[in-house]
């Protein structure tokens, strides 16, 4: 990309910044008793906002920049493998798990629960990446599988009081996978947008079912008996156990997805994403491979849901909300479609930035989606392949062929 082209891309970005800026200092609200709109000026908001966002984005930009340096592959001829895939080596994962687990001893309870949520979202982003990134199946209702995982744990804890969370995790994986197969069977005959709509409909239908069934306790939500949540073990508090379990599961899923991606199966998935007809002509069993991708993706989503339920102790139908699906989709896109480290980074950034912001400035919660949109627009302009995007998709996004 030439300097002039970069500058041209900055123009809409500047416009975006100018449009966004007033929201940093003004607070829009409505007086609930009279219904009159209120506009207040909060001089401290803007600075608090920048205090969180600037370091957050500086880190993101730094990572993206380093990835670009690290990715020494010449622009032409294009090479299909990025050097930052080193990040995916098993050793790296082991070191990370060890460090993170130990850090659990020192984190505050709030830090622990935030960390656990980051791990859960990382799981979801990894899982969604299997369908969207690897196999090219656009799934818009991913939260359905998350909810199925969470409710699996909840229902098991009700049916068998004291059902241990350690058995609920694999059970959630299995039920979510089966649900994935069930949805996948009829709708894998569809491609692209149509598949997206069907999965979206599935999530919406599931949410309504969860709201209306007696056994799922409707809108009130479902508190989970403490005996079925993550237990305290020895010197470790329950929160620390949940954190370590989340990290360990994440590492396991990371390795499994990495192995799958670089196996025959992964190559079949990529071939299907690239050209389904040609893949079928190579003798690749397209339907079976798509179903497998669907099941793996759904299963990982279910695992995420079960960890959420086991650590939060409460589930409600909003786990299957559309917003949840979009959030995870945005994580995959921000990090880089089809890239494992990208999914992890996207999940961390998109969970941590809004959460930290909300702690600093509670009023900001009103504009969460607005800032969200701004971030995505900025990404599409500056780095459409995502922070740690795979070179394959870079080619697609930059329109070369």
């Amino acid at each position: 990309m030439s300097t002039a082209a970069t500058l041209r891309r900055l123009v809409p970005l500047a416009l975006l910044a100018i449009l966004t800026a007033p929201f940093l200092w003004f607070h829009f609200d409505t007086d609930l008793t009279t219904g009159t709109p209120l506009l207040s000026w909060e001089p401290s908001h803007g600075w608090k906002f920048l205090k969180v966002v600037v370091p957050g984005f500086a880190t993101g930009a730094l990572v993206a920049f380093l990835a670009r340096l690290w990715d020494r592959t010449p622009r032409t001829p294009l090479v299909a493998r990025a050097s930052h895939e080193v990040l995916e080596t098993p050793w790296m994962v082991l070191v990370l798990v060890a460090t993170l687990s130990v850090s659990g001893l020192f984190l505050s309870p709030k830090g622990l629960s935030m960390g656990t949520f980051v791990a859960i979202y990382m799981l979801l982003a990894l899982g969604l990446n299997v369908t969207i990134g690897f196999t090219g199946l656009l799934v818009l209702g991913y939260s359905a599988f998350y909810a199925i995982g969470a409710y699996t744990l909840a229902l098991l804890s009700q049916a068998f009081p004291g059902f241990p969370v350690w058995l609920s995790l694999p059970a959630a994986f299995v039920t979510a996978s089966l649900a994935g197969l069930l949805v996948g069977l009829p709708c894998l005959r569809l491609r692209g947008d149509y598949l997206a709509i069907v999965t979206l409909g599935f999530a919406e239908a599931l949410r309504e079912i969860l709201r209306n069934l007696a056994i799922t306790r409707g809108d009130k939500g479902f508190p989970i008996a403490s005996t079925s949540q993550f237990p305290a073990i020895g010197p470790l508090a329950a929160k620390q156990v949940a954190w370590i379990a989340a990290i360990a599961t994440l590492a396991l899923v990371c390795l499994a997805v990495h192995r799958l991606y670089h196996s025959r199966t992964g190559r079949a998935w990529i071939a299907i994403r690239e050209d389904e007809t040609a893949a079928a002509m190579m003798g690749i069993p397209v339907v079976r491979q798509k179903l497998l991708a669907f099941a793996v993706s759904a299963g990982v989503g279910g695992l995420g849901g079960a960890i959420f339920a086991g650590c939060w102790g409460f589930v409600d139908p909003s786990t299957a909300s559309f917003e949840q699906s979009v959030l995870v989709l945005a994580m995959v896109i921000l990090g880089g479609i089809g890239s494992l480290p990208g999914s992890l980074l996207g999940a961390a950034v998109l969970y941590l930035v809004p959460t930290l912001l909300r702690d600093q400035i509670p009023a900001i919660a009103d504009y969460r989606l607005f800032f969200f949109g701004s971030i995505l627009v900025a990404m599409m302009l500056l780095r459409p392949q995502g922070l740690l995007g795979s070179p394959r998709h870079r080619l697609e996004m930059e329109g070369g062929s």
Partner: protein, 238 residues
């Protein structure tokens, strides 16, 4: 003595209410290059689809080595060595050259893949030079080479090609055709669908001419090249 390896007998096939092939029969013998010629919409690609298993026949049988394979899946036929190099090349544009080759080995023993990749690079050195490059960045001729190399990775006992000369410069077309002759010389029979009848007839031992779903002519390449009627109808010129 040449023996018949592939045949289709009175095949009727089509899409929706319309028939494209009206009881068409043809055969390929061992060691042959057979050309299938015809204008647009004559049913050439449908014929290959019937043979490769991407199109189901309404009536009629496909025989491979004497066995009825009309109901076999694409993968089953590939395993038996019936390989189609599809129309428009259909390489994977965002897979590297090497990954494209590997995709062709799906139905074969993965242990043999490294050896076969070496052989492919020996045969097509240009692909070896570009092994890490994405398929979509190759030129049209290189992409066709890649498509042929990928088809060879499936270890064909009969190689079927759908218009390998499509959209290529005349010099490149000649190179592609000489490669087909080489492949044939190594013992693999070739069934070639072409619009470029002149070139195809020069290398073909036998040829069929298809017109709106019916075989109108069959003969050796030389016979058809010499025939005035064929010249006028399919080869252009006077």
């Amino acid at each position: 003595m040449a023996t018949e390896i592939l045949s289709m007998e009175s095949i009727r096939a089509g899409y929706g209410p319309n028939d494209v092939l009206h009881g068409t029969s043809l055969r390929v013998d061992s060691g042959e290059i057979v050309a299938l010629l015809g204008g647009n919409g004559a049913g050439k690609t449908t014929t290959l689809g019937i043979l490769a298993g991407t199109v189901a026949p309404r009536t009629g049988t496909v025989r491979w080595m004497g066995k009825d394979i009309s109901r076999h899946s694409i993968a089953d036929r590939l395993r038996q060595g019936l390989v189609l190099c599809p129309e428009g090349r259909r390489i994977f544009p965002r897979l590297s050259v090497e990954e494209n080759l590997v995709a062709g080995t799906w139905i074969r023993d993965p242990k043999a893949t490294p050896r076969k990749i070496r052989e492919a690079y020996d045969r097509f050195p240009i692909l070896g030079q570009r092994r890490g490059q994405l398929g979509g960045t190759l030129s049209g001729g290189e992409q066709q080479l890649l498509a042929i190399a990928r088809a060879l990775m499936s270890e064909p006992k009969l190689l079927m090609l759908d218009e390998p000369s499509l959209g290529l410069a005349p010099l490149v077309v000649e190179r592609i055709f000489s490669i087909l002759v080489e492949i044939n010389a190594c013992g693999t029979p070739v069934l070639l669908v072409e619009q470029n009848a002149n070139q195809a007839l020069k290398i073909a031992h036998r040829a069929y001419v298809l017109s709106t779903g019916t075989l109108v002519r069959e003969g050796t390449g030389q016979e058809l090249l010499a025939s005035d009627e064929i010249r006028r109808a399919y080869l252009g010129g006077d």
